[in-house]
Amino acid sequence: MSSQLATTPLHAWHQEHGARLVEFAGYDMPVQYASIVAEHQATRTAAGVFDISHMGRLRFDGPRADQLLDHLLTRRVVDMQTGQVRYSLVCDEEGGILDDVLVSCLESPSGKNYFLLVVNASNRSKIVRWLQPHLADFPDVEFHDVTDATAMIAVQGPRAIELCKPLLPASVLSLGYYRAKVTEQMGKPCIVSRTGYTGEDGLELIVKSEDAPRVWENILMAGRSFGAQAVGLGARDTLRLEAGMPLYGHELEETIDPYQAGLGFACNLKDRRFIGSDALEKKSKDATLPKRVGLILEGRRAARQGADVLDTNGGMVGQVTSGSFSPTLDKPIAMAYIDPSVAVIGTSFDVDIRGTKVAASIVSLPFYKKS
C-alpha cells in the first residue's frame, strides 16, 4: 500500500476484517471481504452494508445556493423542496459530462435550508476546481467540502429498511424514494437518504467521521440476523452494472454527452439556462453519436472495458465500457457505446475478447430489476 493513499474512517475495520484493499480514486478501499459473488447475493437477497466514504460531499449554504447550483447542474434545482434528492449531471460548456451527482435539499437542525452535492471520488478535486469561478460570482454562498469531516455508509437490499428499524427514527424509515432528511443516530447527527447504487431499495447515511465506526458496527450487528454483510467495491460494481447504472470513467466521460448516455431525463432544458445548455440543446437533436446499450454475451467470459464490438461482417461498431460476469443472471453482461444505426434491442454482434470473438446481443437496460 502506498503511503499517499487516503483512508476512510472505517479503514481499520476493513483491515481487521480481512478485506482485500485496493487503490480507488486515491483511497485505500475494500474491494471484497471474502467473495464478490457472496457479497453481491447478500445485497440482492438480504442487505449489503457499504463504506462509500470516498464519495465527495460538498455543502452549499446561503439563500442563493439553489441559484448557484441551478447554474451548474443540468437538472433544475431552484424548484427543489426540502427533503428532495435529484440525480443530475455537471456538464462543461460543450455539453460534455464532468460528473454525475446527487443533489439534496436539506433542512439543518437550526431550520435553514442548504444543499448537499455528492460527487464521484475520482472527480471531487476537478469539481471543486470547476466551482471556484462560480463561487466568486455568488459571494454570499458558503461552500464547504465536508468529505473528510464525514463518512458515508450505504445499506442496500430488500431487508435494508427493516434492519435499520432499531437504529433510526420511524420518520426517516418512511422517507420516500429519492427523499432525504437530517436526523440523529443515537443522539449524533446523521443525514439519511433513500438512494443507492445497487438497484435495490435502501438508504445512504452520512455521519461525522468520529461516529462512523460505531454506526457501521451498529448496522452490521442489527443486520446479522437478516443475513446482512459488509460489501466491498467489487460487488458494488457488479450490482450497479446489473442495475444498468453508468459509472464515471466507464460510461461517462467529458467526451460523452448526456443524450448518448441515455441520461436525457437528467437535463431540464425548458425555460432555463445553465452551463452547457446551449450545446445540450443541439446535442438533444443529434442522433448520429454512439449510444449506450446493454449486452448479454454467450459463454462465461466477460468483455472488459475497451473490448471492440463488431458487426457480423467484422466491422467495428462500438466499444465496451464496463463488463463483468453477472452473478444474478449467471451470464456475462456489459455496457457499450454502439453506432446508433445498429443500437437496436435484439441485434447480434461479436465482442472481441482478447482476440476471440464472442457472440453478444443488445438487451434493454437494466439487466436486473428488483421484484
Partner: protein
C-alpha cells in the same frame, strides 16, 4: 496417486507441477490453493489444446474471476498430452481441491531439467506468506 502440496514445485506466478515416478516424462500442472483463494469467484478457464506446445514461463491459458482475468504460465516446456476439460464446468471444485482433482493439463516434457529451476514448497510458501 495423491498429490501433496509439500511435494510439488512451483512458479512464482502460482502454478504447480507434479511428476510421478510411473510416468517420469509427464508433468501434471495446476494452480495453487493460494492462487485460487486470491482469485475467488472463478467463472471461466481457457485451456490449451492437446498437441499444442507450451514453453516454460510462457502463458498457456487463462483463468477469469468475476473481478479480473489472469494468465496461467507453464512451469515446463513440451507438448500438451491431456487437458482436464471437465474442470471448466466445475471451477468451484478448485477451492476445495486445487491439487489432485484440480489438475489442469499434462505435458510431455521436452526438457525435464527445467524442473530444477522451479521453487520448492518452502520457498513458494515463504513467497505466499510474505505476499
Amino acid at each position: 496417486m495423491s498429490i501433496l502440496p509439500e511435494e510439488l514445485r512451483y512458479l512464482e506466478s502460482h502454478e504447480w507441477v507434479s511428476v510421478s515416478n510411473e510416468t517420469p516424462g509427464i508433468a501434471t500442472v495446476g494452480i495453487s490453493a493460494f492462487a485460487v483463494a486470491e482469485l475467488t469467484d472463478l467463472v471461466f478457464m481457457a485451456l490449451p489444446k492437446v498437441g499444442q506446445s507450451v514453453s516454460a514461463g510462457h502463458e498457456f491459458g487463462e483463468v477469469e474471476s468475476v473481478k479480473a482475468v489472469s494468465p496461467m504460465y507453464s512451469p515446463v516446456s513440451g507438448t500438451v498430452v491431456e487437458i482436464h476439460s471437465e474442470l471448466v464446468n466445475n471451477l468451484e471444485s478448485l477451492s476445495v481441491d486445487p491439487y489432485d482433482g484440480g489438475w489442469i493439463m499434462k505435458v510431455q516434457m521436452s526438457d525435464p531439467s527445467e524442473l530444477a529451476r522451479l521453487l520448492d514448497w518452502t520457498s513458494y510458501k515463504h513467497q505466499c506468506d510474505n505476499a
